[in-house]
């Protein structure tokens, strides 16, 4: 029989407000096995934990039940507390009387009744708990970073700095990501290229870092410390190690009219191309959909002009298999499609553009060499309307936009408006805003400068519709503060499009078995306390794949993710989750049902000799579980007809005890 201690947490008034905690503690005193029961304001506080530790020593407890918040919140905390007091951490059970009780029920009687039942269920379970010891597995000391934007670059550099090898996988021909497309960065207005490209060079030159550009992750197997990853290196038809990036092929290529992705299709590039001057690796890539040689076997001009002989039309996709100890996801973001926003006439007029397009239009390396020209006729716009929150902050059921605030638009719009007024003072610049959100160091000052020093006209209100008429864009908008409807003849309309996670994130999440929210942003293991870890062990998050972020935030998160990876790779061995399946060999039939449902291949069979009646023996085939590979889902336990397979920590008997306690 266990000696169980029960600790009921008030969580201030979070629990105590709707649950009579003293009554819960009192009621649970009479449960079988319970020898001690108490309540306290904050069990998770040091003082609360001390109460638990003292009770364990004083009452010689063999198991504890904490009635508190969700186990997803503080189970780990209380397990540590128990361990510190010499109790096996798996002798702790949590009754979730906050999220699943006090917070959802308003009435004290109801809340208290339910809390008592949940407490009884936890006591019933802990009575059947057994001490568990985690198994150990080795760690492959190499990290994989998926995505080569600023997030991936920074993470890789930081990990490499600590001495661990890192591979970066980037789908584009070059690393650099969105930041490489930007002109200036807020709030300091330094040139994006000037601060990013040196980092890209660092990556290229770092001996610990390998870049797999133009590559994708194909398959992920294994588990924390021991991931097996297949990376597909797409054929670029140029030998990466030989190409010098001289650009002769790019100049000579006759197939020049292909939309230039780097400039968002606002100009063209040849079939063989280097995305931009500072690309890393600075290697040409042939677009197989545009190259006449690859499509029709005619041309071959680039091969002829290549002094290094780097062109290889026969190149094939290559699969690279590598083992990693940790994986960092840095797949970044994209602006959402403006297709559905008919009211802004994005599809009707070339002069309605997104902010990222505006960024390229003002970039010295962009399609207009940095001159602000209207895409339609190349004229200088005299009146520019910026529209904020296009597709951000929409209703949850909106088909057009996203529910969240995209976070970076307020600041880049202020930047665009300010820079326009700075370079072209005779331009009228209107910014329609709902709220201006500037929580960041020097952010609000930046926005105020745009208004006060640069004379940007900020109007509280929204654009209702944009109608192209002649060479003008008729903008109809509301000015809420003066309670007027405005009609502006604009030359250029710039839409601050919401941002969304890259489309590659969802399939990747499936491969990684990492969870995502409904917007396809990766979920953190804990929104506050573990913001750079995914709930899947060994998978870390860096940058906008986790949520909208600006550059400083991305870089700091990248560093944080790197430090978590370093912490993991620095270990020689990992202790696993001890809540794994195990087979009772005496009952096992060896029927293979469990093996067939195991997603991890954790179950193998062996022939074992068993003693039978009357000093005879029999050899039978029985299952055995590899605890390092088993993740503890329990699929096998139900597949097993004899009940030989059970799950530690969630045993049949434990769950049944909970059912019984709840259904009393």
């Amino acid at each position: 029989m266990q000696r169980v201690g029960v600790f009921v947490c008030w969580c201030g008034s979070n629990i105590a407000g709707t649950v009579d905690v003293a009554a819960v503690a009192e009621a649970l005193k009479n449960e079988p096995g319970v020898v001690f029961s108490t309540d306290y304001q904050y069990m998770c506080s040091q003082a609360g934990q001390d109460i638990i530790k003292n009770a364990i020593a004083e009452h010689n407890l063999t198991g504890i039940v904490v009635c508190s918040c969700s186990p997803r919140m503080h189970e780990a905390t209380f397990r540590k507390t128990a361990a510190a007091a010499g109790l096996n951490p798996y002798m702790v059970e949590i009754a979730n009387i906050r999220e699943q009780c006090s917070w959802v029920h308003k009435d004290m009687t109801t809340g208290t009744e339910k809390a008592i039942i949940l407490g009884k269920a936890a006591v019933a379970k802990v009575n059947l708990n057994t001490p568990l010891t985690p198994g150990e597995s080795p760690v492959t000391k190499r990290a994989l970073v998926i995505g080569g934007g600023i997030a991936g670059i920074q993470t890789a550099l930081d990990i490499a700095d600590a001495g661990f090898p890192v591979d970066i996988v980037e789908t584009k021909p070059t690393i650099g990501g969105k930041m490489a497309q930007l002109d200036k960065t807020f709030p300091t207005l330094d040139c994006a290229a000037c601060i990013l490209t040196p980092k890209m060079v660092d990556v290229a030159q770092n001996e610990k870092i390998r870049i797999f550009s133009y590559s994708e992750v194909e398959e992920v197997g294994g588990f924390v410390g021991n991931f097996d990853v297949k990376i597909k290196k797409k054929a670029r038809y140029v030998k990466e190690d030989i190409c010098t990036g001289c650009g002769a092929c790019v100049d000579k290529c006759p197939m020049k009219k292909n939309p230039n992705e780097f400039n968002l299709g606002m100009d063209n590039r040849p079939a063989i191309y280097i995305p931009f001057a500072q690309a890393v690796p600075k290697v040409a890539t042939i677009d197989p959909n545009a190259c006449n040689m690859l499509k029709n076997g005619k041309c071959g001009l680039c091969a002829r002009v290549c002094a290094a002989g780097a062109i290889d039309y026969t190149q094939k996709d290559e699969i690279i298999e590598e083992k990693y100890g940790a994986i960092v996801v840095a797949t970044g973001f994209n602006p959402i499609s403006m297709e559905k926003f008919d009211e802004f006439a994005y599809n009707q007029s070339k002069d309605v553009i997104t902010s990222l397009e505006f960024e390229r239009l003002t970039n010295a390396a962009g399609p207009t060499a940095g001159h602000l020209e209207r895409p339609s006729d190349g004229k200088s716009p005299k009146t520019i309307v910026f529209v904020q929150c296009v597709g951000s902050r929409c209703d949850a059921c909106s088909e057009k936009g996203k529910e969240y605030c995209s976070k970076i638009c307020c600041m880049y719009t202020a930047k665009h408006a300010m820079l326009t007024r700075d370079k072209y003072p005779d331009t009228d610049v209107y910014v329609f805003y709902i709220d201006v959100r500037t929580p960041g160091k020097n952010f609000d000052e930046f926005y105020r400068r745009a208004v006060e020093e640069f004379g940007v006209k900020y109007i509280k209100g929204m654009v209702g519709k944009v109608t192209p008429e002649g060479d003008k864009l008729k903008v109809q908008a509301s000015d809420l503060l003066s309670n007027k409807q405005l009609h502006i003849d604009a030359d250029l309309v710039v839409l601050a499009a919401a941002i969304e996670p890259d489309k590659s994130a969802r399939p990747l999440a499936t491969m990684l078995t990492a969870s995502m929210d409904t917007n396809d942003f990766f979920t953190e293991a804990h929104p506050k306390l573990r913001p750079v870890e995914s709930p899947t062990a060994g998978v870390f998050l860096s940058g906008a794949c986790q949520g909208p972020k600006d550059i400083p935030e991305t870089v700091s998160q990248a560093g944080a993710a790197a430090s978590k990876v370093i912490g993991l790779l620095a270990k020689d061995k990992l202790t696993g989750n001890p809540c794994v399946a195990h087979s009772n060999e005496l009952m096992c039939n060896g029927c293979s049902s469990c093996e067939r449902v195991c997603p991890y291949g954790a179950i193998t069979y062996e022939d074992k000799e068993f003693r039978m009646p009357n000093r005879t023996t029999k050899i039978r085939r029985v299952a055995s579980v590899n605890p390092a590979v088993c993740q503890g889902c329990g699929a096998c336990t139900v597949a097993c007809p004899s009940g030989a397979m059970d799950l530690k920590g969630f045993a049949n008997s434990q769950i049944i005890a909970e059912v019984d306690a709840i259904c009393k």
Binding site: L586, M587, N589, C591, Y605, P641, S642
Partner: protein, 332 residues
Amino acid sequence: MQKITRDQLVEKAVALLSDGTVSAVLGWSRGEFDYDITPAVFKSAEEVKENFVWNDFCGANFSKYLVAQTGKVEGKILVFLKPCDTYSFNQLLTEHRFDREKVYAVGIPCEGMADIAKVREIVGDGIVSIEDDGESLKVSTLYADAPVLVGAKDVMAERCVNCKSKKHVAFDELMGEDGEVIESARFDEVARLEAMTPDERFLFWQNELSRCIRCNACRDACPACTCEKCVFDNPDSAVENKAPANSFEEKMFHIIRAFHVAGRCTDCGECSRVCPQNIPLHLLNRKFIKDINEFYGEYQAGAEVGSRAPLVDYTTEDLEPGEVFERGDQDA
């Protein structure tokens, strides 16, 4: 009713025993009457010659015995398998329940077995002898002056009337001709129950299952129930009991048992044959088979060795548990 004769089988068994191919024979042994046949392990040609029997009451499926007997017998064991038995044989091999190398399987044709209860219904009690003249059974009783002739088809067991296959899916040697898989009407009764209202179905099963005495004959005869330790015998399983204490336990036993063999049951019908209380237990298994066929595509357990049972398999497009009933509603 049977096309192959006892003498042919005895000859085969004696030959295989004599040339050392096998050291034991799993066969049917003569009883007190013509119908009470006991499965037996024959160790010598003499025993076979004396006691081996083959007639219309040799229904027992020997596959399950191989699990225990292959471990006990030195050398190979000869087993005679009717077509339906071969499915169980394969299913047990799929589940690695016996060593194929230790078995010499002889497939024998089967024209369907008789059900003594059906015979009794026609001729009454006091059966002293039954002779098979091919088309009909000649039954003598204590109370009739002359033997009564009953048509073989009229007394055929339900599972044989709805025979799913005359084809042997496993054997080392085949005696007689092999048959074909049959399009049987075996799901008709399930469909009839499905068409009832839930209340009617509840009453139907309440009436049937209330007769259960938990003798475990269904489980112990079932070739899919070969667990080293059945959950219903395991005091730690929380469902163990030696008697159905009430109607809940009656239902639970049969639901769990059917669920445990779902996707593995070959529909051999042993459960219903052995039930002393005549509960149509095979209907529960057939319900699972019918559902699985409809939800996930046709699947016959034991048709081949190594196939993946539907409940340990999946596709990403499977129907949702809730859709099971939408489908049913459309049917109705």
